[in-house]
């Protein structure tokens, strides 16, 4: 029987790495956008919409990803079909991206909301008192202070997302984990530990990059120290 060598396994896995990356990148970006929108609705206290964000966030945070993947891939198309929207041709990859976007967005809502709330009321009042429009206030004052607070949580959310991409295989997406399963199965699972250790190494490399990126952002955005002016009294 032919069992592939370590290097053959590595190259077989790296062949499909781009699929994992596309899913990861797309759901990370879209999830961030979704999280931002949900947070906005949440902190602005828009009635009804706010309740919806709470439901989305609590559902996506608490239900196993695999069920969420099934809902999007299997339940959504017939559901939308009832409203005359035809998405039956949605591919498994698109469904995976959609499900992970919802999951990541829901998770980030908690992170972003907490970070937004961490900006003191005084900062809002100061900008308001000077006549900033809400948009100007948000982009010039509030957002730059929210980002550094949100970064560690965002970093964790990204790692969770990276881990969870390894489950999209269930829908038949040929990602890294999917191919790993196939390679292991082809030799009746005799080399499963070896294959999984290689998978682990690839994922560790990806999370290492992700953590590095977050740390870089932290350095860039946190040139000012976020302690209160009152605390500074002691410093001076």
């Amino acid at each position: 029987m032919i069992t592939p060598s370590t290097w053959e396994i590595v190259s077989l896995l790296l062949d499909v790495a781009h699929i994992t990356f596309i899913i990861l990148l797309a759901s990370a970006v879209l999830g961030l956008l979704l999280g931002a929108v949900l947070t906005m609705i949440n902190v602005k206290n828009i009635p009804v919409l706010k309740q919806i964000t709470v439901v989305i966030s609590s559902f996506t945070r608490s239900v196993p990803i695999i069920i969420q993947l099934f809902i999007v891939y299997y339940a959504l198309p017939p559901l939308l079909g009832n409203f005359g929207i035809n998405v039956t041709s949605m591919s498994a990859t698109v469904a995976a991206i959609l499900a992970l976007t919802l999951y990541h967005g829901g998770y980030l809502t908690e992170v972003l909301r907490a970070a937004y709330k961490a900006v003191e009321k005084g900062q809002h009042e100061a900008a308001d008192s000077l006549g900033y429009t809400p948009t100007k206030k948000f982009f010039r004052i509030i957002l730059p202070q929210t980002v550094p607070v949100a970064l560690p949580g965002w970093g964790n959310a990204l790692i969770h997302l990276i881990h969870d991409t390894s489950l999209v295989f269930a829908l038949g997406v040929a990602d890294i984990m999917g191919r790993a399963e196939l390679i292991a199965a082809s030799s009746f699972g005799m080399n499963q530990v070896q294959v999984f250790l290689i998978v682990a190494a690839i994922y560790i490399a990806v999370t290492f990059l992700s953590d590095g990126m977050v740390r870089l952002f932290e350095k860039k955005t946190q040139k000012f120290k976020l302690d209160s002016g009152l605390k500074a009294k002691r410093v001076a």
Binding site: S58, F59, R61, S62, V63, P64, I65, I66, I67, F70, I71, Y74, A75, Y107, E110, A114, P152, G153, N156, I159, H160, I162, H163, S166, L167, M177, Q192, V193, F196, L197, V199, A200, Y203, I204, A205, V206, T207, F208, D211, K231, R234
Partner: protein, 230 residues
């Protein structure tokens, strides 16, 4: 169309494993906090060698998908333990080690690497003045840590802990691969026996959602209780 009868049946069927799932989650959750605190302390106090070990450990744990880590543990934990028992001349067949133990070890370790970050951040958020104040009143370092710093750090960490608990709840479902039965596993067992997959997943999703709602509510209550006391 969803089969109502099956839904109700499934509800009570799956309900039976909720207590053990939650108990398992609580065990893992507490362990992960303990290990995470240990890691955070090692990093904060710059313990030589140990600090490097912890960093390497964290890199590995944060990076490895849990599904992979559980397998690695399943295959390697018995021989690791076997090595030690042999070393200590204990009469224990390590290959008899229960899958529940393997799951607890694997998930606790993985989650602890996230907890360490949370805990470190929350301790850093307690201002130095608080420690100074405690010292000035003659508290021993341990007393200051226990009575002053920890309660304040806890307030800071609580929302993250809530999230971590939900992560643990979901993570346990991967234990099915090594025969540990939780909410999701029971749903799949029932589905596999009666082929009503959609019904089983609906019920399972609601169970998770319900537990999560409860957890969020409880942490919220506890948080406001802690806040009201500080």
């Amino acid at each position: 169309m969803l089969n109502m009868e099956i839904l109700v049946d499934n509800f009570f069927g799956i309900l039976t494993v909720v207590p053990q799932t939650v108990a398992l989650a609580i065990t893992i959750f507490i362990l992960s906090i303990l290990i995470g605190t240990g890691m955070a302390l090692v990093q904060e106090y710059n313990v030589p060698v140990l600090k490097q070990v912890v960093m390497l450990f964290k890199l590995f744990l944060r990076g490895t998908p849990l599904i992979v880590f559980i397998f690695i543990m399943y295959y390697s934990l018995p021989s690791i333990i076997g090595y030690f028992t042999e070393l200590m001349n204990l009469d224990y067949n390590a290959s008899n080690i229960s899958p529940v133990v393997i799951l607890i070890v694997a998930v606790s370790l993985t989650v602890s690497s996230f907890q360490a970050e949370t805990i470190r951040g929350s301790f850093l958020s307690v201002s130095y003045g608080q420690i100074e104040a405690a010292r000035s009143l003659g508290y021993t370092p341990f007393q200051a840590f226990k009575r002053i710093v920890t309660p304040q750090a806890l307030v800071e960490a609580l929302p993250e802990f809530g999230s971590a608990f939900l992560v643990v709840m979901k993570a346990i479902s991967l234990g099915f691969m090594i025969t540990v039965v939780d909410i999701f596993a029971e749903a799949r067992l029932i589905a596999a026996s009666n082929s009503y997959y959609v019904e089983a997943f609906v019920v399972a999703a609601l169970m998770y959602w319900g537990v999560a709602a409860l957890v969020v509510k409880l942490t919220g209550k506890y948080e406001s209780y802690l806040v009201s006391r500080t």
